[in-house]
Symmetry: C2
Subunit: 337 residues, 2 copies
């Protein structure tokens, strides 16, 4: 299966690294042969019909910061949309940076690939949170597969999980902690009694929170993810603007302390149910499945037959997120056997 | 797809109930048509080529306690192995009581169905914990499917989850709370400071612990389940006798109190890793994914790419366990489309 990787940041590098680590293993385990035929970044493209070497891709990127410096097959300035027409491939892995204003350029990349009858795998929340129906509809009309497990919860399986493992159940609602940064901040505040501002600063120093943490702490990131889950798991038709969003910046150590005294924690909970689509700080009972700490993500699916089913996993990380992309790729490959 | 249900206790009734509730829904959602062509219990068999009515099956069982009293199509005294030859079916659902001495009669039923080229779905821990390789091997040799999601953790997806959602990862170890009764007892002891004996008695009065709770409290039930996970997820070749087992009957309120003071809980943990196959009480950090309370089951899979992935769900319950059987049946049906 020939893979085109669009975007060579943290997730793109994770995908290439996973191929480097697991290539032989996947061949043995599934008889599966993946070839990376193109990788793009802002500098240009590395592109070869016969497959690029994962380690050489990573080394080139580390050394010069530009994938177009890949020996022999690097093409400086060849932009992503152009490159899509320059090489034969089976599946586009779209992992350019998330844009929650208009979902571009990822949206255009994915629609182009689909209309060229290529399967698409992405971790890109932006276009999914803004125009889910259009993307899924285009994939369907072109009879191609479109998978996006990595877009929610990083390494935490949730979308395919609901469709495959809970195929006998209807999902009635979803409650989750879908943002690791805010979970980290709230967990630390609960443990140390520290203020929001001080804890955020520490998280930034540790690289857990970004320099501009707005999307995380104001709840936008979690809102994108609950939109994707509501559409893909609960068959809703919603987008980012439909979510009622409240962040964590007004949470005080005092409120956390009061909650704790009664056996509760304060968590930033995303909810999708028939009449609610919301991200807001909520009380969660200590010892309940949602009460996980640190940067972990968690989601509870309320089902009609199996009651509550919860999954917990790392919500971020380069190789971790790439593992979700890899299982999407394996699933596509298996379906074509 | 014609289904033969062997055993009409809690799980068998759950399966029939699920067909009653979801029959039309499954037809709409997947175009899927299940027919129950036979149900057996110790009284005999109800059997009809054209399909039995789920509600009438449940009513008959409730009224007389005997499935053979099913109007027109009930056959008193027709025993399970005989019945297997009396009707055309596609898939055997084996849900007779668990026997951890020799796995019978479930083992014989399943081997017979497999050699007749029928797919098999089961929740029956006994034969799986005692002769996993033989069963899986026989299924393979006969080119039939053999699925057993419901045998571990009831409604909590874990086996198919590891194979499908984590297909890109290798599972390096498994840690889990695989028995709801003991989790309930330990959770209550932690909350109320009560003794093991007193808490067990209360759990028995509430119907959470059985009259003879030995298999639960001594760890045998959890040991069966970790054997199934080790074999099916980690590709090991072990059976019940290989597990080092310690139960919870010697846990005192004092030890729970001491642990709690340091931020830990005592849980009955089942572990499968390269050098350990064990069920024993262990310290679990409060707020960690394994620290779930009540009768919940939980399992953490340590993976090579995605770090720890945890699932939590109801470990028992008639309809809950049946939901896992249903997703196995849907998966078999999908694979034949």
């Amino acid at each position: 299966m020939k893979i085109f990787i669009m975007g060579f940041g943290a997730v793109g590098k994770g995908v290439v690294k996973v191929f480097s680590i697991k290539g032989n293993n996947l061949k043995q385990k599934y008889g599966l042969d993946f070839e990376i035929v193109a990788v793009t970044d802002t500098s240009g493209t590395a592109l070869c019909d016969k497959g690029l070497d994962p380690d050489l891709l990573l080394n080139t990127k580390e050394k010069t910061g530009r994938v177009c410096d890949y020996p022999e097959y690097g093409i400086p300035g060849l932009s992503s949309p152009e490159a899509l027409s320059k090489v034969e491939y089976d599946c586009l892995v779209e992992v350019t940076p998330t844009n929650i204003e208009d979902g571009e350029p990822a949206k255009t990349h994915m629609l182009k690939a689909m209309s060229d009858k290529k399967d698409v795998v992405t971790s890109n929340k932006g276009p999914l949170a803004l125009c889910f129906k259009e993307l899924v509809g285009t994939a369907k009309n072109n009879n191609v597969q479109f998978k996006f497990e990595a877009s929610v919860g990083g390494a935490m399986p949730i979308i395919n999980f609901a469709h495959e493992n809970l195929s006998g159940c209807d999902i009635e609602s979803i409650f989750g902690i879908l943002n690791g940064t805010t979970n980290y901040i709230l967990s630390r505040m609960a443990k140390e009694g520290s203020s929001y501002e001080q804890t955020l600063k520490e998280a930034q120093e540790m690289g857990i929170a970004e320099t501009d943490p707005t999307q995380d702490v104001e709840g936008t990131d979690a809102a994108c993810k609950i939109v994707i889950l509501a559409n893909s798991i609960m068959n809703m038709d919603v987008s980012l603007g439909d979510v009622e969003i409240n962040g964590i910046s007004k949470i005080t150590p005092e409120s956390i302390f009061l909650a704790k005294k009664e056996g509760y924690l304060i968590k930033l909970i995303a909810e999708a149910s028939l009449d609610t689509l919301e991200v807001s700080p909520r009380l969660v009972k200590e010892g309940s499945p949602l009460s996980v700490e640190g940067t972990m993500n968690v989601a509870t699916l309320k089902t009609d037959l199996a009651e509550d089913i919860t999954v917990v996993g790392k919500g971020a990380g380069s190789v971790e997120t790439a593992s979700a992309i890899l299982s999407d790729l394996i699933s596509i490959w298996k379906s074509k056997k």
